[in-house]
Structure formats: structure tokens, C-alpha cells
């Protein structure tokens, strides 16, 4: 009764599923339904004719038996067939995806070496990218946590005379801007310099970082204290504090928790602030930190209104104003208005404002400022690394896929559509990427924590890089992109190679198809190019850091420790008391065993530059004044202690001091100048004996100093910045409450003297807070912290990239060698020497390396320009770096191709031929 199933045409459903062949299409289903109906009618007619009917009668009878008009039946059968196949397609699809994943999992388990390598490479790429992205997001991308932050602008002074902009602003200029510019809804300001306050009355004296702000500062930002009250407009002025008899303080949530135990009773509590009365009036919300996360508390600016018209106050650049644009106002209009007001002020106050302009920048961009470029470069670098990782895994997959060509070909021959095979490949890539991504995100979280610890202190406005939903979304996106990238190559190749071709090849060579080889070669070239770019970038940073290390800071940090002390003005009211304290302190420290010498300076090289001022040299033309001279006071013996050479004249002695008639004009004031000032203002002259004053326009009250000597340049603010001109006064004639004590120790770790110094300070004044101490070598090292940080990270990325690229080169050379083994065997049997074989194999690997290198170098010539601002002493296309890196890479590429080539050349030709 049953017929024989037709061969080939009808593939059993089970087989269809087993080989992941596609279900029938809509058209096929319709055709099936039609054919079945026709066959049925034929059979009926045949049957009836056999019973004796004429064909015409039989046909009529068959149609009658159908029970409905033929066309209706046909349509309804087609419809049900389509519906059936449609449903089956959905079911099959779901089943197939599951099967794909299961299949992929089995493949992975079967090749653990491949799987572990690929997952590790991906995890590394995704992890590093995620970590860097978390930092970029926290620092650059996350909007400021204020109301309508895009309406906030940082206002700054510019100075035409010095060609500078983005400068700190003086309170009188700020007040005039605030009153006259109508485009601003509000302008408030904060103190630009970090301000250490000593809080006493809580047991141990405590040093906290405070920031003075104008009364309306927080309400302008749109942030309210979470406890207690905000400052008032009136508290901008010192009069409010005088009336109240105390300074109101707002605590950061962190300080409230760590110092005051997070208790509500902290509000209203009285404390001593730098020796004056103060009271805690509120606590800012958790997470609020401005201008940096280091802030512990805020206090009102407390300006004395009687100073408003004083010329010196108009030059007292000490605040950063932030403006909120008025509704409807544009930044362009605000800038125009601001410039008009600056021009008015220049006319109204010619003595101070002739060269002073004004400008504004979006607040966020201003705050992110310098770290934007390095962070984006790191993100770019890590992105390149991820690309290389993808290329690498893509290569691994390709090589593996070429081993699976038989499998794919069989499937294709059985009718598996190409789309179907592509999907299978993509499912595998996605599964692989997901594994890599999962590990990568874990790695990324760890990397983020590491970054937080590695980042140089104070470099960034934020100290934590939270791994939030955005970062995770980024990691997932990176994973999927990676999967598509590296999965696309084998998938496309699977599309391209026809089944016949692969089947004909048979199982003999198991080699790589020419198409695959081209793609693998292309990927290796891309890897080498990207790695070259990264290594060049890292190389530039390494060389820049080396250059920086060779910079002479102008002093000898070896064996010197700096200890910072700040005397509260309330208990040390006049120069005699301050001088007495420091004299005694230095004398007692000098007596500590192991101390070679000790001295003090009001500045800390590379960290605390101190103030600058205008100056005038006696006998010059009235308009020949100078600007921006760094002023500081040092005790006798400072230059000996710090190893700074005396170039001319004499240094300070104990005689350069007086304790009476501080404010009067007198003729025994002396000064030293640094070599920069001597060269710039006394070219070809002997500055010793010349007189100088820190007034721009000297008058009868000016205090003149006689220059007694010239000392070497010390770099003041940054190691990469040449020394500024400097005027040095003897401490005995220019007393300062805040001094840095420098102790040179005879050998060994200089910081070992710190406990003894602390003990002496405690004996002299038990209420002084614990003091900061730092080895000068660390100061020098810290001044290069950003460069080192960047160099380390970029170096690490470049190293990983290079290893991945070399693995790629190695892999392809080994592949070529394996594939041509029979040919080599034949050649050797015919008399070719091992050296010839070596050359043949090497050629392939090396040519890819050279092409990649050339492309990488070409790209780097342009790309490294983005790094120009980060490099010291070299150009972004530094030939030395380019040459060194290129030759290193050629050597590395040679090594990576030579290893497998040598192995091929060493094989016994007899063995390889027999294996054939």
C-alpha cells in the first residue's frame, strides 16, 4: 500500500533539524498544497475510470466529491499550509537558536585551548575598555550634579599684557561684573586657592580643607544643605561675621560623618577655626563636593567691604566666579556684555585694569579642562586594544573555521542556507563574546578600583569612578560589537565558499582556503598597524617621561624632607612672635642627631609657588616695570640645604633681620634674585647692588631692597615649566606664618626625622595641628605623576596590543608553514636547503609585518598630534622614538615569524612526504 519515499527531494524533518536545514518557505508550502490537491484528484479520477467511467464523467464526479468549488478548496488548503509552515518556522527558529548555542558550547568544550585564549583576550580588551570608560564617564561625561548645569559658566580674567586667559579673578572685578552684566541671573564665587583650616576644640587639632564661597553660591548652583541652613547673601561680607562674632561653617557629608559621627547635634556646635570663633550651621548633601572631592567644609567669603575701592584689592586675584545665564540669555550675548564691562573697568581703573579683559567658558568644560585630552587618549588607546583583541579572536575563529570547512560544506550541500550558516557562526561568536564580556566586566570593575588607586592624587575632580548602569551598558555594547566584529569574518567566509569547492578538496590537506588566507592576512596587517600606533604613542610618552626625569629641578631633593607648618594668626599676632617660634624650632631641629642642615622657605618647589607681584628696578624708565615676579622669603642656609648654587654675591645671614620698625622705609632691606630674573632684567649687568621694589609705580612709601646676590633657578610650579623670575627676601625681613621647613639628613631615609620634629613642635605649641611632611624626592616624583600614570597605562595597553599582534603574526606564519609542508618536503628532497625553506616561510610573515608597520606609522604621524600637549621636550613625530619603535617592532615581527619558520625548516623531508 505504501510507496517508496522519493530520494533526495524530501528530507526527513529529523534530518532537517539535525543538519540545521531551513524549514520550507511560503512558496514551497503553497506548491506542496497545490501538488497534493492535484495528485489527489488525479488518483480519484484514475480510480473512477478504472471502474468504467469516461474521463469526463470521472472528472466531474471527482470535483463533486471534493465538496466545494476547486478554487476555494485550493485557496483554503494553501492558507492552512502556509499557517502550518509559519508556525513551524518560529518553533524551529527558537529550537535552532538553542541548538546553535548548545552546539557552540560543545565546540568550545571540545577545544578548551582555543576557548580559554579567546575568552581571555576578549576579557582583557573589554575589561580594560570598561575601566577606562568608567573614568572617562565619571570625569568627562557625567553632567555636573547641579540644577540646569548647562546654564552655568565659569568667568575668568584675561591679561593682554601677559597674553594669558582663564585667570583667577579679583573680588572687585567680580562684583562689578555681577552688578553690570544683565545676561546673568546670578554670579557667585568660590576661593581659588586651597585653604587649610585648623579646627580645635575637638580633642586633637584638626587640619581640614576649606573653601570660602560667597553667600549665594549654593543657591545659585541649585543645591541645598541636607541639614541646617545655607549661607545668606549678607554673609558674603565680613561685617556679618563681625556682628555675629563667629564664622558660620557648612560641612561636607563626609566630614560630618567622619569627624562628627554623623550626629544631628553637630549642627549649632561651636568650634575654633584658625583661632577664631566659628559655628557649624549645616551639612551639604551626600556626594556634593565642589570644587573638588577633597573639600571638607565651606565658609563664607567674608570680604571687607571697605576694601572694595582699594587698588591692591582689584589686583587680588583670588576667586573663581560662576554665572548662571538669565532665562533667554545666550552665552554670546553674555560674553559681549562681559567684554563691554571689562572695557568700562579698564577706563575707570586704569592703574589696575588697563590690560584686564574678561571671558567665560561652560563650567563643565572648564572644570574638566586639562584631563580631558589624556583621558580621551587613553580611551582611544584602549579602544584600539579592543579592536586588536577582536582581530585576534577573529583570526583564531577563522583558523578554526577553516578546519571546519568540511562540516560547513556538508551542511551547505544538504541545503542549509548561507544565512543559516552565518547565523550559526554568529551564535558562536556571540556566545564567545558573552563569556569574554562577563569576565571582562568583572575585570573592568577590578580595573576601575585599580585606576582609582593609581590615579595621581588631586589630578581629577573626582576620586571615584562608579561602575553604574551606563558603564555596564557600555561594556555590553562593547561585547556585542566585538562579537559582530570578529564573528563577521568567518561568517562572511562561510557565505562565500561554495560547498562544491570545499567538498572537492576532500579531507586531504585540511588547509586554509585562499579567501580565508587573504582575510587572515588582512587581519594580521590591521593588528600590526594598530599595535604600531599604540606602541608609538606609548613610546612617545616613555621618551617624554625620560626627558622629564632628566630635567634639573634646580635643587637637590636627595636626603631632604619638607615639613609644612601654619601658625594661627590669632595666637601669633606679630612678626616677633612668629620669628621667635621659627627661630626656636629651627635651632631645636638642628640639634637632632643626623640632621646636616635645616632652613625654611615660604614656598615648596613644584607644589606651592607662592604669590606673584609686580616690581620696579630703581633707575629704570617709569613704564619699565615688571610683572609676575614670584616672591618668597627664606631663612639663611636655605640654598645650602637645598643644594641650590649661589651664582653671584652673597646669601642671607642672620644679620639680615630686624624686629622693629616693620612698616617704615629703611635702607637695610636686602633681596636675592634667581638666575632667570638676572638674565631677563640685567643682561650684561651685575645685578648685585641694584635696588628693587615690589611696587609697580614706586612712591615715597615704597620699600626698596638691595640685591645682594643671584641664586640658581628652582622650578616653582611644574617640573615641565621653566623657572619663573623670582625675588627672594630674607625671612627675618619678611615674616610669614606659613612656612615649609627643609631638613637635610646625613644619608638614609630623610623622613625618619619627622617624629622628632613633631615632638619638638608639640613641645613648642601643643595646639598646633599635626603637620604634613614629605620627602623632596617624592615631591619631584609627584610632579611627574600624570606623565607616569599616562605612560604606565598606555604602555600596558601597547604591550598587550603588541603581544596580541605578534601572536597573530606567529599564527599565520605557522599556518602557512604547516600548509606548505608537503611542498617543502618535496623541495628539500629535490635539494633545497633548510635556509631556503626558512626564507620562503619568513617572507609571508615578514611582509605582513612590514605592511602593517607602514600603515601604523603613517597613521601615527597624524594621530600622535593629539598628544602634543602631553609631551615634554619632543615633538609628536619625534624621529628618535619613531625609529626606535619601528626597529623594535621589525625585530619582534621577525622573531614571531622566524620561530615557526625555523620549525618548518628543521623538519625531516622524508617524514613530511610520508605523512602525505
Amino acid at each position: 500500500m505504501s510507496g517508496t519515499p522519493e530520494l533526495g527531494r524530501g528530507i526527513r524533518a529529523g534530518v532537517r533539524r539535525l543538519f540545521r536545514l531551513p524549514p520550507r518557505t511560503r512558496a514551497q508550502a503553497d506548491a506542496d498544497a497545490d501538488a497534493e490537491l492535484d495528485a489527489f484528484l488525479e488518483a480519484r479520477i484514475e480510480h473512477l475510470v478504472a471502474r468504467g467511467m469516461t474521463p469526463a464523467e470521472a472528472r466531474a464526479e471527482a470535483l463533486r466529491r471534493l465538496g466545494a468549488p476547486l478554487d476555494d478548496v485550493r485557496a483554503s488548503l494553501q492558507h492552512s499550509a502556509e499557517r502550518r509552515e509559519g508556525r513551524r518556522r518560529v518553533l524551529d527558529w527558537a529550537e535552532a537558536v538553542l541548538a546553535d548555542v548548545r552546539f557552540a558550547a560543545r565546540q568550545f568544550v571540545r577545544t578548551p585551548g582555543f576557548t580559554v585564549t579567546a575568552v581571555l583576550v576578549l576579557a582583557l580588551g573589554i575589561g580594560a575598555t570598561t575601566a577606562i570608560f568608567s573614568a572617562v564617564r565619571a570625569v568627562v561625561l557625567r553632567p555636573l550634579p547641579f540644577a540646569q548645569p548647562e546654564r552655568l559658566y565659569m568667568l575668568w580674567e584675561s591679561n593682554r599684557e601677559m597674553g594669558s586667559d582663564r585667570e583667577v579673578v579679583s573680588p572687585p572685578n567680580y562684583l562689578d561684573w555681577k552688578e553690570r552684566v544683565s545676561s546673568f541671573a546670578d554670579v557667585e564665587a568660590y576661593g581659588s586657592a586651597p585653604f587649610q583650616v585648623t579646627i580645635t576644640g575637638l580633642g586633637e587639632p584638626l587640619v581640614l580643607d576649606g573653601v570660602p564661597v560667597t553667600g549665594g553660591f549654593f543657591s545659585m548652583l541649585g543645591v541645598r544643605p541636607m541639614l541646617g541652613r545655607d549661607f545668606t547673601e549678607a554673609e558674603t561680607w565680613a561685617e556679618a561675621t563681625w556682628r555675629a562674632g563667629e564664622t558660620p561653617l557648612l560641612l561636607s557629608a563626609r566630614t560630618w560623618r567622619t569627624v562628627f559621627g554623623g550626629e544631628a547635634s553637630a549642627i549649632g556646635r561651636a568650634v575654633e577655626l584658625n583661632g577664631g570663633h566659628a559655628r557649624i550651621v549645616g551639612v551639604m548633601p551626600e556626594g556634593f563636593a565642589f570644587p573638588s572631592e577633597a573639600v571638607d567644609l565651606w565658609m563664607p567669603s567674608g570680604w571687607a567691604s571697605e576694601n572694595r575701592e582699594a587698588a591692591w584689592y582689584r589686583r587680588d586675584q583670588s576667586i573663581r566666579p560662576i554665572a548662571r545665564l538669565a532665562p533667554g540669555a545666550t552665552p554670546e550675548r553674555a560674553r559681549a556684555e562681559l567684554e563691554t564691562v571689562a572695557a568700562q573697568l579698564a577706563r575707570e581703573h586704569p592703574a589696575t585694569n588697563t590690560h584686564v579683559g574678561a571671558g567665560l567658558s561652560p563650567l563643565h568644560a572648564f572644570l574638566v579642562g586639562d584631563v580631558r585630552t589624556p583621558l580621551l587618549i587613553l580611551l582611544g588607546a584602549v579602544g584600539l586594544m579592543l579592536l586588536i583583541a577582536c582581530a585576534n579572536v577573529g583570526n583564531l575563529l577563522l583558523v578554526r573555521a577553516s578546519g571546519r570547512r568540511q562540516e560547513l560544506a556538508v551542511r551547505a550541500a544538504l541545503g542549509a542556507g548561507r544565512g543559516r550558516l552565518v547565523r550559526q557562526m554568529l551564535a558562536e561568536s556571540l556566545a564567545l563574546a558573552s563569556l569574554g564580556g562577563a569576565f571582562g566586566i568583572a575585570l573592568g570593575v577590578a580595573g576601575t578600583r585599580l585606576l582609582e588607586r593609581l590615579q595621581p592624587a588631586g589630578l581629577l575632580r573626582v576620586t571615584t569612578f562608579p561602575v553604574d548602569a551606563g558603564v555596564v551598558a557600555f561594556a555590553v555594547l562593547a561585547t556585542v560589537t566585538a562579537a559582530l566584529l570578529f564573528g563577521a569574518f568567518p561568517a562572511l567566509l562561510a557565505r562565500r565558499s561554495g560547498p562544491g569547492e570545499a567538498l572537492r578538496e576532500g579531507g586531504r590537506t585540511g588547509g586554509v582556503a585562499p579567501g580565508t588566507r587573504r582575510v587572515v592576512g588582512g587581519l594580521v596587517v590591521a593588528e600590526v598597524a594598530l599595535a604600531t600606533l599604540l606602541v608609538l604613542g606609548a613610546g612617545l610618552l616613555v621618551r617624554s617621561t625620560i626627558q622629564l626625569r632628566q630635567v634639573d629641578p634646580g635643587f637637590d631633593p636627595d636626603g631632604v624632607v619638607a615639613i609644612s607648618i601654619n601658625l594661627p594668626g590669632s595666637r601669633y599676632p606679630g612678626p616677633p612672635t612668629i620669628a621667635a617660634f621659627y627661630d626656636e624650632l629651627l635651632a631645636r631641629i638642628r640639634a637632632i642627631p643626623g640632621v646636616e642642615s635645616v632652613a625654611a622657605s615660604s614656598t615648596l618647589p613644584l607644589r606651592d609657588r607662592g604669590a606673584t607681584s609686580d616690581f620696579f628696578i630703581a633707575g629704570r624708565a617709569p613704564d619699565a616695570y615688571g610683572t609676575e615676579v614670584v616672591r618668597r622669603s627664606v631663612t639663611p642656609g636655605y640654598f645650602e640645604t637645598m643644594g641650590v648654587p649661589l651664582l653671584a654675591g652673597r646669601g642671607f645671614t642672620d644679620a639680615d633681620t630686624f624686629t622693629d620698625r616693620w612698616d617704615e622705609p629703611r635702607d637695610d632691606r636686602v633681596a636675592l634674585i634667581n638666575a632667570a630674573l638676572a638674565r631677563q632684567y640685567f643682561p650684561g649687568q651685575d645685578p648685585v647692588g641694584q635696588r628693587i621694589t615690589t611696587d609697580r609705580v614706586p612712591d615715597s612709601t615704597s620699600q626698596w631692597r638691595t640685591i645682594v646676590g643671584v641664586v640658581g633657578n628652582e622650578r616653582q610650579s611644574e617640573i615641565a615649566m621653566p623657572a619663573q623670575i623670582e625675588l627672594i627676601e630674607p625671612f627675618g625681613q619678611a615674616i610669614d606664618t606659613r612656612m615649609h621647613i627643609y631638613v637635610r639628613m646625613a644619608g638614609g631615609e630623610p623622613t625618619r626625622v619627622v617624629p622628632a620634629v613633631r615632638a619638638i613642635v608639640r613641645e613648642l605649641d601643643p595646639e598646633l595641628p599635626l603637620i604634613d611632611a614629605v620627602a623632596m624626592e617624592d615631591v619631584v616624583a609627584d610632579s611627574m605623576a600624570l606623565d607616569r600614570f599616562l605612560m604606565l597605562l598606555l604602555g600596558a595597553f601597547a604591550a598587550v596590543a603588541l603581544v596580541l599582534a605578534l601572536v597573530g603574526v606567529y599564527g599565520i606564519t605557522a599556518q602557512v608553514a604547516r600548509q606548505r609542508l608537503p611542498e617543502f618536503g618535496l623541495r628539500m628532497a629535490l635539494g633545497a636547503r633548510a635556509r631556503d625553506i626558512l626564507g620562503l616561510t619568513l617572507r609571508r610573515g615578514l611582509s605582513l609585518v612590514i605592511i602593517g608597520l607602514a600603515l601604523g606609522v603613517a597613521a601615527a604621524l597624524t594621530a600622535t598630534r593629539a598628544m602634543a600637549g602631553l609631551l615634554y621636550g619632543i615633538t609628536p613625530n619625534d624621529p628618535t622614538t619613531f625609529l626606535t619603535v619601528t626597529s623594535l617592532l621589525v625585530a619582534a615581527g621577525f622573531g614571531a615569524s622566524w620561530l615557526p619558520a625555523r620549525r618548518a625548516a628543521r623538519l625531516d623531508p622524508a617524514t613530511t612526504l610520508r605523512a602525505e
Partner: protein, 109 residues
Amino acid sequence: MALLKGTLDVLVLKTLSWGPMHGFEITSWLEERSGGRIGVTDAALLQALHRLEERKQVTAEWGVTRNGRRARYYALTPAGRAALREEAAALVDHVDALTDILTARRAEP
């Protein structure tokens, strides 16, 4: 005679329990067995076959008849066999009940 609703599917499954058949074989078999008493239109039968295939109670594949013609051969799946057992039992039960009711005589006095 018209068929009870839902009965056709069971009859088709029963027919296929003898082995794979194509549509015309099935209808011929049903006609022979019922002595022509069961009238099924061919459209309904073909529709029923599609229905059963969608429910995965039968599978279909193209084959060649003894006369050398192409035909779509249907075969029972394990699911179809289970459905046949279940629905046949239910139907027999149902028909027994109907028979009891319709053939009952008036109660004896």
C-alpha cells in the same frame, strides 16, 4: 451520513495506524471500511490532514505511488498514536452512551 464533529480526525488517525498512506488511499480506505456509509468530502479530508500535520500528530513527505505518481504520504507520529488511543476511547464511550439512550425501550410496566 454526516459525521459527528471531531470524528474525522480520529478516523484519519485510525486509518494511518495501518501504515503511511496518501490522501486518496485514506479516503478509499474509509469508504471501503464503512461500506460507503460515511460521507466525507475530499476537501474536508485534505483540510483534516493539514490540521493533523500542524498538530504534529502526523508527518508528511513526498513519495511515489505504485502507479508511478507523486503523492504526499502521511505517517503517524508518536504524538498521533497517543492522540488516537485517547480520542478513540472517548469516542467509543460517547457512541456507546448515545446507543444506550437512543435504543432504550419504554420502561417495562
